[in-house]
């Protein structure tokens, strides 16, 4: 039915099967949309946030998807600026994931603010001293960059590509992509950092507060660093999931291995920096404000030392060791474990830097307020996940996301039905230039 839209030389399941499989995902999406409108119409009383948890699940989700979407900028940086040419085989996917993550982040922000209709005041009445202003500007700009980076891929759709205008546009965009990749990397460095700064500058919150250089607290750098380390891991994780679902190898091992190795070294250096930061904070910063490390991890039913161990040891040191060793990377089980742990590490870190910051009491006569999200918060947080799955599925189906797919999965035309043959033929017909 939709074969005319499917890239040439690849095999795709029947549309009906796709629709059937995406059914539940669409249901989740709709559930999220309902919750989203409830939040917009009835207000944020639909959430379980409160005056102690002004930031909660959504801001965590925001910080996390942006960190994990960091695969896009970092892979782009490696590919276009550093010149790791091999990564061109995964860059499309990284960009796609980045695009999903950043658009999700913007959507969540639009739900999260109390007056969405005034959201643009952040640009109009911008306070340049606010980390959030920096985040908003860089985030929006980088999202535009990602859109520009994603656009050529869309334009490569067989049917669109047939139009000379789009074909040429796509071609020209490819030429200047390095410029955008550089811009993206620059913007990303700042907004990933600013997101770290969001927590780090809170000098009223000893759990979050960090010293730093000039206006930038150490978390500024740590966040950028961890995004660069964990973002590619997320890209790899999703690649592996996609490969599992499609039952195809989509990217060659050497490409993945290269990216994983770089991510591993990033993670290693990050975790060393993180340990130094934590140690300095626990030994110098917090005590100067009257707190001992254990104060932040006791007297409450949830936030214990296990968080620190989980984040730094289990999701930091262990995946680092695996990823920097060839042996670790070559074993599929240890490799996947490391990738998943690294992703989890970013999630845990962002959780602590958002939720635990809110929870840890500062006034001596206050306790730890506890929080669990309302279903509306959960639904709106799952909404981007569902949207992401759908966008990946559609992109995979209709766009040449994985340049190595054709090579890795040669379509045996003899075994294919007439439709596939016809598709292959028509594909060949219109894009002789494609190599």
């Amino acid at each position: 039915m939709d074969s005319a839209l499917i890239p040439k030389g690849v095999n795709r399941c029947p549309l009906s099967e796709l629709i059937l499989k995406l059914g539940p995902v669409v249901a989740v999406l709709l559930w999220g949309v309902v919750a989203m409108f409830m939040c917009w119409i009835k207000g944020l009383n639909q959430t379980n946030m409160n005056d102690s948890y002004g930031f909660a699940l959504w801001i965590w989700a925001d910080l996390t998807v942006i960190a994990l979407g960091g695969g896009a900028f970092f892979t782009g940086l490696l590919r276009y600026i550093i010149g790791k040419d091999k990564l061109k085989n995964i860059i499309n996917f990284a960009v796609l994931i980045g695009f999903i993550c950043y658009s999700s982040a913007l959507l969540i922000l639009a739900i999260d603010i109390g007056q969405p209709l005034r959201g643009w005041f952040i640009f109009w009445h911008a306070n340049v001293h606010s980390m959030l202003t920096e985040v908003a500007f860089c985030l929006t700009c980088y999202f535009m960059v990602l859109t520009i980076e994603y656009l050529p891929l869309i334009l490569e759709n067989r049917q669109i590509d047939r139009l000379p205008f789009f074909h040429n546009l796509s071609h020209n965009m490819h030429e200047i992509m390095a410029v955008f990749a550089a811009t993206g990397a620059f913007l990303s460095f700042f907004h990933q950092g600013s997101l770290g700064g969001v927590a780090g500058v809170l000098f009223g919150r000893p759990f979050a507060f960090r010293e730093g250089i000039f206006i930038w607290p150490w978390t500024f750098f740590l966040f950028t660093w961890s995004a660069a380390a964990c973002g590619p891991c997320f890209t790899i994780m999703l690649l592996k999931i996609t490969e599992r679902i499609t039952r195809k190898k989509l990217v060659k091992d050497d490409v993945v291995d290269l990216l994983a190795k770089i991510a591993g070294w990033m993670l290693t250096t990050y975790i060393i920096a993180k340990i130094i930061d934590t140690w300095y904070w626990a030994m110098v910063t917090a005590p100067s404000l009257g707190f001992e490390l254990t104060d932040f991890y006791s007297n409450n039913p949830f936030y214990g030392m296990w968080i620190l161990i989980l984040e730094i040891v289990v999701c930091g040191i262990i995946p680092s060791i695996i990823l920097i060793s060839k042996k670790g990377r070559s074993n599929p089980v240890s490799f996947m474990t490391a990738v998943v742990l690294a992703v989890l590490g970013a999630c845990v870190n962002r959780w602590a830097m958002v939720l635990q910051v809110m929870a840890a009491p500062v006034l001596t006569f206050e306790g730890w307020p506890m929080y669990y999200p309302s279903w509306q918060e959960v639904a709106t947080t799952l909404l981007p996940v569902a949207y992401g799955i759908i966008l990946v599925a559609l992109s995979y189906r209709y766009l040449p996301v994985f340049p190595q797919e054709v090579e890795l999965n040669p379509v045996e035309s003899e075994d294919q039905g007439g439709k596939a043959k016809k598709a292959a033929l028509s594909g060949a017909e219109v894009s002789p230039a494609r190599a």
Binding site: G114, R118, W124, H125, N127, P287, M358, E366
Partner: protein
Amino acid sequence: MKNDQAKKYGMVIDLDKCTGCGACMVACMAENNIPFKEDESNKLDSITWMRVYQLTNGKPYPETDICYIPRPCMHCEGDHGHSPCVSVCPATATDYSQKTGIVSQIYTRCFGCRYCMAACPYHARYFNWWDPVWPNGMEKFLNPSVSPRMRGVVEKCSFCFHRHQLAMNKAFVEGRRELEENEYQTSCAQACPSGAIAFGDLNNPKHTVNQLAQPDNAHGGQPKNPEVFRLLEKLGTNPKVYYVSSREWVRRAGDNYLKNENPGKAH
């Protein structure tokens, strides 16, 4: 001209006199059009610009002691006006006035990101989770000097800034540029039946607050009076609300201390 020097409005609350009666809270609600819901027992979504906390010394019966501590917005000066909340607001909806030392909040500018709430260690900022609703007829007692806030924005104690404006207008009409101490008082200070709340210009040696707190402006306004303390002094927020207590355990409850730390020598 000497009279043009900047004001630094602040408060000194005598915790020995404070009885925890809650009059300041209601005086604030009545003055500032604070909304109320059927159930206000969840203190995490209950708007109380002025909130009275209860402290306990943690000792068992009969050594137990309690003390009340009213907590308005601290109007932190931070480091030269770099208060925790003002610097983080992305839309410049909250600002530190170098003229009065008051941290303002523009409700129509605020778009409800709540970053300022995350920044404030005193929980002095409140979000309007709900549309404010006054039962039929009750909107009649709303004060026209203070605009009711809409859902989705952050609000907080303004040191009754509208009273400052009204007093300044009156003074201006009378050809004066300076206010007497009693011309500008917050609603809570005016109402307190115990006279526990003093309000005025911390920079003016004639004002009670200056005499009680003896702020050291060279050190962020730290109190020189040994019985006076500020909440979370160590954070460097430099609040302009000072507390007096003759009880050592109460003063210690004002900040966090390491196990073996002696508060007397902390600063």
